[in-house]
Symmetry: D3
């Protein structure tokens, strides 16, 4: 299986049909960014065996909360985290933990994005 | 046990005697920042039961890598992560994972800090 | 008075009834994040006597502008700043000052958020 | 010609009538921020002859993508980049390039803002 | 008095002879960056009358702590803050305040830079 | 030619023998991060034909200045920029341009790193 196929498979595992639709929208507008994201982001990176999908979800959410992601990335990865088995309680505690490391404004912003993600699930 | 005592105990668990000395240096110069860090950062935050210490270490490292921590925080938390049972391979993979989410410059900076932390351990 | 009560009182002082409603919305979804914010953020931190509420408002706004806060935090703290006696002219000058230290894109973003906060006040 | 006049002229060159309207909205609410932006941002900075407008557009877009600009600044400068002769393909490649240096979440956010900017052009 | 002269005068007021030497070092390597910093940063920005030098010092420090300044800017502005009358206690409380808004790693980094600035004063 | 080989070739083109030694040091400690950087960062990303190496250097420098890179990444890419034909004057103007978009503290930090890079070249 080539890297792009591995990437599509990983997106389906992480984010299901909505994830695939989301990447297809990227691909339609910028085939090369989709290719980079698929082959590198979802293909190569997720192939590493030292961390499982639940651990990666915690790491991804912490990075997105800390960088003050607008909402699109957070929404996508909150849903992906739930899908790979991170519980709602664990996600809330990631946000709590980040309040000390990245500050309350980013934690509270993330909380509202998470709440909306659950309501629109 | 009061919160400050809980905080000191958590620091010892996470970072051992060097961690305690490090917080004592903060306390000597700024008793109030030490108190806030102990009672809130190490007391309250780490009391949440939804995440264990290994999971918190992954989240902390991702936040520090993403915010481009100079080195002091990264060094402290790389050592703490090893101490609570995160393996060297898992830490390297946190850095790999962050290369896609926070970019290569921050990942490569973190790699060098980690290498130096191991050499000075 | 316990810390949480001190936190609620401080929120009322800073942000009035809308501030209380806002924290209650956080509390309903994540009681623990609300507790951390109340006891630490509004309780402990604001208890320090070395800075008054007007000075803290300037510091908070500068931090939010610099971190590129989306809008929720900025809106809340623009209103709180006015409430504790920072004038509109002083707030505009915080934004001007930050244009040199954090760049024009963040200053101009903050200006628009402030304008909307005044229009919806 | 004084600096403010040079600034207005540069805005017209970069962003046309919509750019002028946009700065006039800033000026109405905060004459001093508009003056700082005009005299320094558009006057002094763009007077440097070592870089041409196309090069400056690439640098500006990279800075905005990296700082996670909400959208207002990105939208303005995507349009300005096209106006001074940066092609759509070059802009897409700036975004691709930034995926490696600032991470995929910021690159994908920027892609969506660019897509919307083109649709509303 | 022209803007550059106003800028040099403001630097002397804020940072004394070491501040002037520091800007002269910038000027020797990049006359144009020194000019932009003098005329805009120290000339125009500090001319606004809505905030006094003590208030500006608080805002500057909060911005530098929040953006994770390496140390050069923080050291310069910690000393400038003391020079314009901000007390050591007030500076420590700026750092405490920022622990809640920008996270502990940045607050603790700033504390160490401040400690070193005082030791080398 | 496989992607890793393309990556090594691109590093040599951008950064010469010191660049190769630098990536070999990464590879020795973390073969997988080196592989990701080589295949994706230097292989895939730099293969895009819409931007040439000089344009990419401007974009990279703007991203590093804006994210407040400590120095390692900036030093590497200042040297690479000179190597691919960006002049010293153009680099100084990238820094000037970024003073308006990312603030003076990051511009002045970058200036000092650039000065040291030239002195150690």
């Amino acid at each position: 299986m080539d890297k792009a196929a591995a990437g599509w498979k990983k997106i389906e595992e992480l984010a299901g049909e909505p994830g695939i639709q989301s990447m297809k929208a990227v691909e339609e507008f910028s085939p090369r960014l989709a290719q980079l994201a698929l082959e590198f982001g979802y293909g190569d990176v997720y192939l590493g065996e030292a961390l499982d999908l639940k651990q990666r979800a915690l790491i991804t959410l912490s990075s997105l909360i800390t960088q003050g992601d607008q909402g699109r990335g957070l929404t996508y990865h909150f849903k992906a985290a739930l899908r790979v088995g991170v519980t709602k309680e664990e996600i809330l505690e990631v946000i709590n933990h980040c309040s000390a490391y990245a500050g309350f404004p980013k934690a509270i912003h993330a909380l509202h994005v998470f709440k909306e993600a659950l309501e629109n699930a």
